[in-house]
Symmetry: C2
DNA sequence: ATGATACTAAACATCAGATGTTTCAATTGT
DNA sequence: ACAATTGAAACATCTGATGTTTAGTATCAT
């Protein structure tokens, strides 16, 4: 396992994840990255032990993690195979992260953004109707952070926090489970645009509009403002992917 | 483990799930059902082994499954604790299923339906724009099945298949990952309404409307029709939960 | 008393290897 | 050809030993 051992955003600084987690990530990335195709058998437990230099327990736990995420299917006697893509838990944070770490495929990012365009405006509307004072404060705090950010990273993180705060304020647990989609989409945009300073702070007024509508408990306005904001984001994404393919 | 061993919808008929899966389900249901509270430590590995009558490997694999679903967090030395509800993967099929198997809490069902109301109309619109011939055939087949269903179960299953087919026809992978939400919501409605025969086939004309719009590639009409259908569903749910609380 | 240090028990992490069960395919007998 | 048998491959489970981390407790110097 010496070749393994990389860290992830989720790891608390300096704390190494367990071997099982590491093996899981390695396998997960390979599957998501298409190194092993859908429907194909993966190496058997012994081979995996050998390859990663770990014991069978570790491999089994790693495989179980991937089963829980819908990526693998194990069958006694016949082996363990990659499930078809449609069965993957694409909304799982890890699975999303693996996607972005191996494949900044524009099509996928686009689909991610399309989905955001569907549910975030509704979230904003619901937030306008049902947000508590604390929840509005959380949104406002993120907004301020964006305005005061000096480094581009701070700005992007504040951006993500803003959207998450809106999602939370909608007070719908199921919707809240889509938090990961926002962060992933955000991160991928960053990667694509390479945090282009030209875009810096461009979306602040639009965020402001969303916040104001929620504060005023105006659901329609909140929905419209969020929709407008995301459309802008999407146009920029389209712009960048166009540049990308042109450059090549 | 003798007391364990129950089957689930996902199990192929007659095939017993592995012990790890059984333990995972048992623990999952208890957590989701609130038997162990958020933030609380669960029994340690040895206790769990004793309680379920299985070996440590089995317990560890079960726990790993739950970690992957965001329900548990294990820390070396200190123990394994239940994560706060906000961290649970509420969109995971199993987690959803456990919710419904232990707690037909109307609030949750309502939230589930709210989310469906957000993304299914869009799915219908996208389907109108991008569905292939095969995908439309799949929708049509489900529609026919609903019309021809004689048993109430067949009707409900066909209903779910219809919605799934629309979701698939939208050709957005991320959206498709929400398939589980549809089935769960459907199942919960059944449980609540106890498959009331009065409601039988009531929604066929609305489904027909959605199908026709998709066939005609009319995105706006498809979106509107799906929205109308789901609003009806929601009203019925509200009706039943009102009856429920009144009855008590 | 107080603060820092050292010890210890609890709990998870990993390993090794034995044994059972299921599946699939090859073999064999007709 | 066809059907039944057999055996290898692969996962499932168990056992028990040993390592590591954490949190709390006891101890000791000041």
């Amino acid at each position: 396992m010496s070749e393994l051992l990389y860290y992830d955003l989720k790891d608390v600084a300096g704390v190494a994840p367990s071997l099982a987690t590491q093996v899981c990530r390695e396998l997960g990335r390979r599957i998501v990255g298409g190194v092993v195709r859908e429907g194909a058998l993966i190496d058997d437990e012994n081979k995996l032990c050998e390859r990663f230099g770990v014991s069978k327990s570790v491999v089994r736990e790693a495989v179980k993690l991937l089963v829980a995420k819908g990526l693998l299917e194990v069958r006694r006697g016949s082996g363990t195979r990659v499930r078809r893509r449609a069965s993957w838990s694409l909304l799982d944070d890890d699975v999303l992260a693996w996607h972005l770490s191996v494949e900044p495929r524009p099509g996928f990012l686009n689909q991610l953004l399309e989905v955001r365009q569907v549910f975030e405006p509704s979230a904003a509307a619901w937030a306008a109707k049902s947000a508590t004072k604390d929840q509005i404060d959380e949104i406002r705090a993120a907004q301020r952070k964006m305005e005061n950010a000096e480094e581009i990273q701070d700005y992007v993180v504040a951006d993500a926090l803003f959207h998450r705060a809106v999602l939370r304020a909608a007070n719908n647990e199921v919707l809240m489970a889509m938090e990961g989609v926002i962060f992933s989409a955000l991160l991928s945009s960053i990667r694509l645009t390479n945090a282009d300073p030209r875009d810096n702070k461009r979306s602040i007024p639009l965020h402001q509009k969303v916040l104001a509508a929620i504060e005023a408990q105006d659901a329609d306005a909140a929905e419209a403002a969020m929709k407008e904001h995301l459309e802008g984001t999407r146009e920029r994404l389209a712009q960048f992917t166009a540049d990308e393919s042109e450059g090549k």
